[in-house]
């Protein structure tokens, strides 16, 4: 960590090509001048026409943008992926066990392995979930784990997104686009498919249907509506799964069960993949002013008549303050050592740690505990002195509101920039499904910081995406 030259996934330090990138390297060398630029233009047209857009909060002109797509894929070797996916599976199993425990007997708190107050007084903890028995004991069914790589064999988990992780549609569309743009490159490599995701998602959702549901449970995707930044993804996933895309107004409860309003009357719904945050899910139980949710849906869930995916209250397990304890959580529930590293995290409420943080802030990353999407965060080495000072003040004012981590030197991948190929920093979000079994789609979404030297990969902050290839043996 923290070395000056970041690890490049394509080239060794001596300039030779790493094995997984051999075919790509040859292919790149064969491309005619402007070949990549033409491909890039084609890609943009494909995405815009398909309406693959996301909304940028706070941007004034048109609310919709096409997320930049880089035409050079990111490649992960089979053995690298095996190791990664084992670590991911371990993590999601432990976190689900943790959620079950927290909402039942709270053994881990009794054992003193995690401070009780950190959980019980956390805004993300949902007391209404106490004692509920979710189907198959699963709370977080759909997870996107943010991972960064800093060396040939060194991966760190940045965040476990257990609420309503987004971006999986980009993973699928990136692959679709890449296959249209460079079929010849696919022919030279054995790339593990990602197209199975919608089918696996459907199977996962069906596997957690309530006991009373029939052999073909009715699945609905619940979206906040067309003005939500991820609306495209909601409709895309519903379409791919053959499930109904619903807004709150399309659903209602009757006799403790949930129904859709159809042209021919009410139809019972068994599983709801909801992309509405906990707070807005049900005005009867959560925020009473919510217009997006379905009144009574949570009670119907408690009554065992419908399954909500993910369960409310999963946010307690991906809280930035709880994150520090994930290795502890893995040990407590699985009796195993964590296979994937956590990023060391400094606790600003500790006087000594805070003093050290304030001293070294120029080298560190500061994140708001409840921030997301790259907002409310500062990357020390790429920020100005004034920004350092601003965050020092913020930390002093509210030490519990921030976590601080060392600046990781994210790996770089070759990226098409201004008709040239240059290294840019990347991260990785593999998508995990947990139901009757754990299903991890090979690869995931690679986000790339298109600005030279930048470590912020969020699409809202000038990041793009890449197709991610896991090679098969």
């Amino acid at each position: 960590m923290g070395e000056n030259t970041p690890f490049d996934e394509m080239y060794n330090a001596d300039g030779s090509v790493r094995e997984p990138y051999r075919a790509l390297s040859e292919w790149l060398a064969e491309q005619p001048e402007k070949g990549l630029a033409l491909m890039q233009a084609d890609a943009e047209a494909i995405f815009r026409k398909l309406g693959i857009t996301f909304a940028v909060y706070g941007s004034e002109e048109g609310t919709e943008k096409v997320i930049p797509f880089d035409v050079i894929p990111r490649i992960i070797a089979a053995n690298e992926w095996r190791k990664l996916s084992r670590g991911i599976e371990q993590r999601v199993k432990a976190l689900n066990a943790f959620l079950y425990d927290i909402y039942h007997r709270q053994e881990i708190l009794k054992a003193g392995r995690i401070p009780e107050k950190l959980i019980l007084n956390n805004a993300a903890f949902c007391p209404q979930m106490m004692g509920l028995e979710p189907a198959r004991g699963v709370y977080a069914h759909i997870i996107g784990v943010d991972i960064v790589r800093v060396g040939p064999d060194e991966f760190y988990v940045l965040e476990d997104n257990l609420r309503t992780p987004s971006g999986v549609s980009y993973m699928l569309e990136d692959r679709e686009a890449m296959m249209m743009l460079a079929p010849d490159l696919f022919q030279r490599s054995k790339v593990a498919p990602v197209e199975t995701y919608p089918e696996n998602l459907r199977r996962t959702l069906e596997s957690v249907a309530p006991a009373g549901a029939g052999r073909n449970p009715v699945i609905a995707v619940l979206t906040p509506g067309i003005y939500n930044s991820a609306y495209f993804e909601h409709s895309f996933l519903a379409d791919q799964m053959g499930a109904q895309l619903c807004e709150g107004q399309d659903l209602f409860v009757d006799g403790g069960k949930v129904y859709m309003r159809t042209t021919t009357g009410p139809e019972r719904v068994d599983v709801i993949y909801r992309r509405i945050d906990d707070d807005y899910l049900d005005p009867l139980t959560f925020r009473p002013d919510s217009m997006l949710g379905v009144p009574g849906i949570f009670d119907a869930y408690r009554a065992g008549n419908v399954t909500l995916v993910n369960a409310p209250g999963t946010g307690i397990a991906d809280d930035k303050a709880v994150y520090t304890y994930v290795p502890e959580i893995i040990e407590f529930y699985l009796g195993e050592k964590a296979l994937l590293n956590n990023v060391p995290t400094y606790n600003c409420t500790d006087v000594d740690q805070r003093a050290w943080v304030l001293e070294n802030i120029a080298e560190l990353v500061v994140k708001e505990v409840h921030g997301s999407g790259g907002y409310g965060m500062m990357v020390g080495p790429t920020s100005t002195k004034a920004q350092h000072e601003e965050f020092r003040k913020k930390i002093i004012a509210r030490p519990d509101n921030y976590i601080v981590q060392p600046t990781l030197s994210l790996s770089t991948c070759p990226t098409h920039i201004n008709n040239d190929v240059a290294p840019r920093h990347v991260d990785l979000r593999p998508y995990v499904l947990v139901g009757d079994e754990v299903r991890i789609t090979p690869g995931g979404l690679t986000r790339v910081a298109l600005k030279k030297g930048s470590l912020v990969v969020n699409s809202s902050q000038g990041g793009g995406t890449k197709d991610t290839w896991v090679l098969e043996d």
């Binding site: 815009r48 398909l50 309406g51 067309i226 409709s235 379409d239 895309l245 107004q249 159809t262 042209t263």
Partner: protein
């Protein structure tokens, strides 16, 4: 998979708004041509105002503009986001509806709709004058055709298709009735001119608004006569914008719904009532009764079809 009531509603209105955008363009084109060729004093303004009246937009227009000239009327009907029937508002509403039912329409339909909106929303009103205005009006028509082509060529013939088609033809019937009614507004003050040169010229433009000025000749082999033209736009089953044709089309699609869902609803009765107006009658009877009253009854009946359809299939 059963269809959400909201999806049915979005499909119905998606088609209606595309058709309405096209009709706004047609109407404006007629108003524009009338104003160019008018030989009467103050004629240009008068034609434009009567056109606005026919579209029931005269009051909304008067709230925003003092003078009705080509520029103000063109802006109001094409670009004004505060006018819910402007081409801009229609395309935006159509696209919003399409986005809400993205999974219920085909990729071709979506691309056509999304492309039309993206292009139109880039246009700056001040760049569109004179010949450019006519070009843009044609463009709007063509995009509407393209959307309909994508629809007919790609979508499953299921309930979604029926709602889309019903919306399209309910709107078209409404529009044809209103274009005919425009003639009533234009002529009302000067009924002495019936049969004169101006009268013929106005009828011509009305035919043009329905893209029917050439097909008229094929059907009637005669010069323009008010009787024939009204007959053409109201009662001829081979004329794809006539009231009777639209009504039959809507009926067929409502029947498709009844077949798919296995039962008739209140909207089927409302449809029967509407059909009674245009079937088993002729132009002499309609003129004797008064064209304006007839058209008003038709528009009301047509609205009842929408209202009952909305209730029957759980629009909300």
């Amino acid at each position: 998979m059963r269809m959400l009531g909201r999806t049915a509603q979005n499909l119905f209105w998606l088609s209606r708004y595309v058709e309405r955008a096209e009709n706004m363009a047609r109407l404006l084109e007629v108003g524009y041509r009338m104003s160019l060729t008018s030989r009467r004093e103050g004629g240009a303004s008068e034609h434009l105002v009567s056109m606005l009246k026919a579209a029931e937009m005269d009051e909304a227009f008067a709230e925003r503009h003092e003078v009705a000239d080509v520029d103000t009327v063109a802006y109001f009907m094409m670009f004004d986001p505060t006018n819910p029937s402007s081409v801009y508002s229609c395309l935006q509403a159509a696209r919003t509806n399409a986005r809400s039912v993205r999974t219920a329409i085909t990729t071709d339909m979506w691309e056509s709709m999304n492309g039309a909106w993206l292009e139109f929303s880039q246009i700056k009103p001040r760049d569109v004058r004179g010949a450019k205005l006519l070009g843009l009006l044609q463009w709007v028509r063509q995009r509407s055709h393209e959307f309909r082509g994508a629809l007919l060529g790609t979508i499953l013939r299921d309930d979604g298709f029926a709602f889309l088609q019903a919306g399209n033809f309910v709107e078209r019937a409404d529009n044809t009735a209103r274009i005919l009614d425009m003639k009533y507004y234009v002529l009302l003050p000067r009924s002495s001119l019936v049969g004169g040169e101006i009268d013929i010229q106005q009828w011509t433009l009305i035919l043009r608004a329905a893209s029917a000025h050439r097909s008229y000749g094929h059907v009637y082999h005669d010069r323009y006569k008010a009787h024939n033209i009204a007959d053409f736009l109201i009662l001829r089953t081979e004329m794809p914008r006539s009231l009777v044709y639209c009504a039959h089309f809507v009926r067929d699609n409502l029947n498709l719904l009844a077949k798919l869902y296995g039962r008739r609803e209140a909207c089927h009765d409302a449809m029967d009532d509407l059909l009674k107006l245009v079937e088993g009658t002729n132009m002499d009877q309609i003129f004797a009764r008064g064209l304006h009253d007839f058209l008003n009854d038709f528009i009301d009946g047509n609205n009842r079809v929408t209202d009952t359809l909305s209730a029957s299939y759980n629009f909300y």
